[in-house]
C-alpha cells in the first residue's frame, strides 16, 4: 500500500526524515568523491572543489529548508512570473552566455556563475503543475495537452539553442511523467513518445549508417535522404490532409488512426531531417562511440572507455577511497562532474555503487509515496515532476558511467560537483519535503487550508 490512510502524522514525518537522510548521505558521498577527484597521483590535493561543494551543500540545505516550509500554494501564484523570467534568462544565456565545453550554458560574472538551465527545470515543473492542476481532467483534450507540451517546449528550445541537448532531454521524462499522472490520454502520450523516439532515430540514422555500418540506408532513405524524403513528406501531408477531410465527412475511426500514424511519420521525418542537418560532428561522434567506443579510442571514445574501465576495475569492493588509479592518474576525464560515479565505482566497487543506487532508490521511492499521497493536484504534479527529474538524471548519468547510456553531460544529482545542479537538487528535495509536510499538517488538522 502506497497510501497511508488514517491519521498517522508521526509516521509521515518520520518517513520525511528518510528523504532528508538519503539526501544528506548523497551530499556527503558527493563531497568525498569531489575531494577524491581533486587528489593528484602523488597525494597532493590540487583542487578545492570539495570545499566549494561543501559550501554549496550547506547553502543548499538552507534552500531546502526554505522551500520545505513555505506554503507551496504561494509558489503556485508566482509560477507564471518565475516561468517567464526563466525563459528570458535562458534566452539571455543562449545569446550571451559563457561558453563552457562548447555550449553557452553559463551566465555570470567572473568566477561566479550559474547555469539557468538547471533552475529552469524547477520553474518548468512548477508552471506545468500549476497549469495541469488548473485544467484538471481537461488534459484529456488534445488542445490543452498541446498547450502543456508547449509550456515545456519553450525552455527546451532555448536550452537546445545553447546547445545543451543533454539538459534539454531531461524535460521529456518530466513532461511525460507529469501528464501521465495528471491523467493524459495514453494515445497522446504515445504520440509524443513515438514522434520523439522516431525523430531521434531518423535524425542519427544517416550518420550512424555512414560511420559504423558503412552501407546505404536502404528503404529508410524514403524518410532520411532529403532528395527523396521531401516527396515522402508531401505524400504524408496529403494523406494526413485527406484523412482529416474524410474524418470530418464520414467520421470513421480508421481516418483518425490514419491521421495519427501519418502525422507521427510526418513530424518524425521532418524533425529527423532537421536534426540530421544541424547535428554537429561531435554530437554524431557521441552517438557513434556509444555504439562502439573503440572506433576512436583516443578521441571521442576516450571518456567512455576510461569510465567503463574505472567502474569495472573497481570490482566487488573497490580499490579503496583515494586508491583508484584511473581517476588519480587522470585517465578519467571530468571526474568531479559528469563522471563522478566512475570514481565511486572504482574506489568503492560494486558495494559502493549499490549503496549510491539504494540512496537514489530511497529518495525516489519516498518521492513517489509523497506525491501519490499529496493533498492537492498541484503538489502531486510538482512531486511527480521532481521525482521524474531525479530519476532521469540518476539513471542516465550512472548508465553513462557504465557505458550503457550515451554521453549527454547530465550531472548526477547531489554528487556531481557544481552549485547550480546541487541547488536545483536541494530545491527539488525541499519541494518534496514541503508536500509531505503539507499533507502531514492537513492530516493533523493544524495546518493552513491549502485551497
Amino acid at each position: 500500500m502506497l497510501r497511508s490512510d488514517g491519521p498517522q502524522a508521526g509516521r509521515v514525518r518520520s518517513l520525511d526524515f528518510s528523504l532528508l537522510a538519503a539526501t544528506v548521505a548523497l551530499l556527503i558521498v558527493g563531497v568525498l568523491f569531489v575531494y577524491s577527484s581533486g587528489v593528484a597521483s602523488d597525494g597532493t590535493v590540487v583542487s578545492n572543489e570539495w570545499l566549494k561543494q561543501i559550501l554549496w551543500g550547506a547553502s543548499g540545505l538552507g534552500l531546502l529548508a526554505i522551500f520545505a516550509v513555505t506554503n507551496h500554494q504561494r509558489f503556485k501564484a508566482y509560477t507564471p512570473y518565475v516561468y517567464v523570467a526563466t525563459l528570458v534568462l535562458l534566452l539571455f544565456t543562449a545569446l550571451i552566455g559563457r561558453p563552457v565545453n562548447g555550449a553557452r550554458s553559463w551566465l555570470g560574472i567572473g568566477e561566479l556563475g550559474i547555469q539557468p538551465s538547471e533552475f529552469a527545470k524547477v520553474a518548468t515543473i512548477l508552471v506545468l503543475a500549476a497549469y495541469l492542476s488548473e485544467i484538471g481532467n481537461g488534459i484529456r483534450e488534445l488542445p490543452r495537452f498541446l498547450l502543456a507540451l508547449g509550456l515545456v517546449a519553450a525552455p527546451v528550445v532555448l536550452i537546445a539553442l545553447q546547445p545543451d541537448l543533454g539538459t534539454a532531454l531531461v524535460y521529456a521524462p518530466i513532461f511525460l511523467t507529469m501528464t501521465l499522472v495528471a491523467g493524459a490520454r495514453p494515445r497522446h502520450l504515445m504520440f509524443v513518445v513515438t514522434v520523439g523516439l522516431l525523430t531521434v532515430f531518423l535524425g542519427v540514422l544517416p550518420a550512424v549508417q555512414q560511420q559504423i555500418l558503412g552501407h546505404e540506408p536502404g528503404l529508410w532513405r524514403l524518410l532520411t535522404d532529403p532528395s527523396i524524403s521531401r516527396y515522402t513528406l508531401l505524400v504524408l501531408a496529403g494523406v494526413v490532409a485527406l484523412s482529416g477531410l474524410g474524418f470530418r465527412v464520414f467520421g470513421r475511426r480508421y481516418y483518425y488512426w490514419m491521421i495519427y500514424g501519418g502525422s507521427v511519420l510526418l513530424l518524425a521525418a521532418a524533425g529527423g531531417m532537421g536534426i540530421a542537418s544541424r547535428l554537429q560532428d561531435y554530437q554524431i561522434m557521441r552517438l557513434v562511440i556509444f555504439i562502439d567506443p573503440w572506433i576512436d579510442p583516443r578521441g571521442a571514445g576516450w571518456n567512455i572507455i576510461q569510465s567503463v574501465t574505472a567502474v569495472g576495475a573497481g570490482g566487488f569492493s573497490g580499490a579503496g577511497f583515494l586508491e583508484g588509479t584511473q581517476s588519480h592518474l587522470r585517465y578519467l576525464p571530468q571526474q568531479s562532474t559528469d563522471f563522478i560515479f566512475s570514481i565511486i565505482g572504482e574506489e568503492w566497487g560494486f558495494l559502493g555503487g549499490i549503496f549510491v543506487l539504494l540512496l537514489f532508490a530511497a529518495l525516489i521511492g519516498r518521492g513517489v509515496v509523497i506525491f501519490y499521497s499529496a493533498r492537492d493536484d498541484f503538489a502531486t504534479f510538482v512531486g511527480a515532476g521532481i521525482v521524474a527529474m531525479f530519476f532521469f538524471h540518476a539513471f542516465v548519468n550512472m548508465g553513462m558511467a557504465m557505458g550503457i547510456m550515451p554521453i549527454t553531460g547530465i550531472p548526477l544529482p547531489f554528487l556531481s560537483y557544481g552549485g547550480s545542479s546541487l541547488w536545483t537538487g536541494m530545491i527539488g528535495v525541499g519541494l518534496l519535503a514541503n508536500i509531505g509536510l503539507a499533507r502531514a499538517r492537513g492530516r493533523t488538522g493544524g495546518g493552513a487550508q491549502l485551497r
Binding site: 574501465t309 576495475a313 584511473q326 513517489v368 501519490y372
Partner: protein, 638 residues
Amino acid sequence: MSGLRRHAGRGGGGSSAGEVQRRLRARVTGLAVGFGGAFLLLAGYMFFLQVVRGFEFRTRASDVARRELTVPAPRGRIYDRTYQRTLATNRDSFALDIVPGEVSAAQLPALLDRLAELLNVDHTELAARVPPSQRHLFQPIELRSAVDFSKIAYIAEHLDQFPGITWHSEPIREYHEIGSLAHVVGYVGDISREELQVLFNEGYAVGATLGKSGVEKALDAQLRGVDGLRQRTVDVRERTVSERSTTVRPPEAGNDVVLTIDRELQRVAEQALGQRVGSAIVLEPSTGAILAMVSYPWFDANSFVGDGGGAEFRRLSLDPSFPFINRAIQSAYPPASTFKIIMTAAVFGEETLAADHEIDCHGTFEFGDRVFNDWLPEGHGPTDLPNALAHSCDIFYYQAGVRLGVDTIGQYARDFGFGAATGLDLPGEVSGFVPTREWKASVRNVSWVGGDTVNLSIGQGFVTATPLQVANMAAMVANGGVIYRPHVVREVRHGSTGQIVATTEPEPLHVSTIDAETFEFVRDAMRLVITDGTANVVLTTDAVDVAGKTGTSEVGIEDRFHSWFVAYGPYVDDHDAAVDVAGDTIVVAVMVEAVNEWEWWAPKAANLIFQAHFARQSVLEAVAYLRPWYQSAVLVAD
C-alpha cells in the same frame, strides 16, 4: 481530499471518481515499477561490469598506466690477443631530452633557439622533433643524441634557461686506434626494419644497436648482453607518477671478445702495405689464428657517430675504391703464380714428372693452335721442378698441367682449400672458384679445352682465390698436410668477471692425403724461391728464413699487375727442428691490386713484415735496417 479526486466528477465522459482513482493508482504503480526496474537493470549491469568482468578491467586499468622501459645492457668490449689493448669500448655519452609538458607554448621557440645555438644545429631540426600534437605530454622526447659532456654541463649549470630539458646516458661505441682493424672489428648501428623482421624472435627490439659487420656482427649475440627492464607508472599525460620505478630485470653486460689479432703485428702489416689498394694477412698456421688482417682502404667507424655521421657513411658507401670491402676475405682474384705451389705438389705427388726431370724452356709453348708464352720471353732453359717453382717457369707448368689434366689439378686445388669458404668467424666471406669440366659445360655451354688447362696451370683463367685462401695454401705446406680453420676470435670472456666463457680451439679445416714427402719437397722448393729464385732480390730479411712464392697476374692494364706474395717462416731444413718452431711459424700473404703503381710491392711488404716481426722491430726500424731497398718506397707515417 485530493483535487484529482474532486475533479473526477466533471471529467471526461462517464468516468466515475473511483475509476479515476484506480487509474491514477495504476499509473503511479506502473511508474514506480518502471523506476524500480530501471534501477535493477543498472544494478545488474553494475554487477556484470564489476564482479563478472572485474578482472578484465583491472588488468586494462593497470596496463594503460604501465610503461616498460628497457635499460640498455653495456655492450661487450673487444680486445686484441693480449687482452690488454681495448679495440672497442663504450664511451659515456648523453642524449638530450625535452619534456614538452613542462615547457609552455610561449617559452618553446626561445628555448629551442637557445638549444640550437648551443648544439650548433638548425632550429627547425629541433622543432621537428617536438610536433604540436605531443607538446602537452610529459613523456621525454629525445632531441639529440651523442651530445658532448661539456654541453650537458653547461645546461646543468644554466638549468633556469632550459626548462623541461633533461638528459640520459646513452653509451656510444668507440673504437681505439682501430685503423686497419675496421674490417675485422666492424661497427654497430641501429637495427633496420629489415633486420628487425629477421631478428625479432631473438629478442631484438626497435631501436636496438646491432653489429653491422666484422666481429661486431659475427659475435653480436655474445657482445650485446641482455637489456634490463624497468617498469614505471605514468599518468594520462605520460608523467611518471612515482620515482620508485621497479626494476623487473637488471641488465646483463655483454661478453668481452678477445681477438687473435696482434695489435703490433697488425700495425706492422698495415704500414708495410701502406696506402696501396690490397690486403695483407698474417696467419698462425699451427692454429689458424689470424694475427693480422689488413685491407686497404679502410675506414674509421668512429666517424659514423655524432654530427655528420650519416653523411660520412654515405660518402664511404659511394667511394669508388670500396673501403667497406674486406679484400682479404671478400675479394677473389686469380692466384697467378702462387698457384704453382699447388701445381708443384701435384706434379710431385702424382709423380707426373721425376723431381729432376728437366724441361727445356724457350719461352713459348705451342698447344693446339695456340702459343702460350713464358713471362720471360727468352725462356729459362732446361728447368727441373724445384727451379721451375723458384723461377716461376710458366712453360714447365704448362706442360706439367697438360699431363696432370684439369681434374687432378682441381682435386689438388680443393685439397688446398681453394673453391670453398674457409668459414672463418667473420661475415661476408667469398669462396673463390676452382673450375671443372662440368661447370664450364653447363654454365658456359662450351666444353673444357686443353688451353683452359694450360691457363689453370699458372693460376690464370677461371680460377680465383681470396688472399686468405692463398695464405691457407701456404699454411697447408708449412703444417705438412693440414689447414686449421682461420679465426679472429681467440676467446670470449664474461663481461663483468672476465672469466673465459668460450675459447676457439684449433679445428682442422682440410686434412690432406698428400704424403709428407711431397710437402717437404714443396717447402724446399719454396725456400729456393727466396734463396735462388724470383724473390731472391726482394726478400732481404735476415731475421728469419722464409719460404714462399711470388705471383704476378696481368689484368689487361698496361704495366699494371696484381702482385701476390705468400710465404711462411721460419723455414727449417731439418724436419725435427721444424716441429720445434711450429708454434712460432707465421704465414704472410700479401696481395696488392693492379690499380696501384707497379712496384712489385707484395714481396716487399712481406719482407718488411717478416723482418719487423722476427727482429721485433717497428716498420720504420725494419725499413732502416733493410735499406736501400725501401729508399724510394712510400711509407705511411702513422
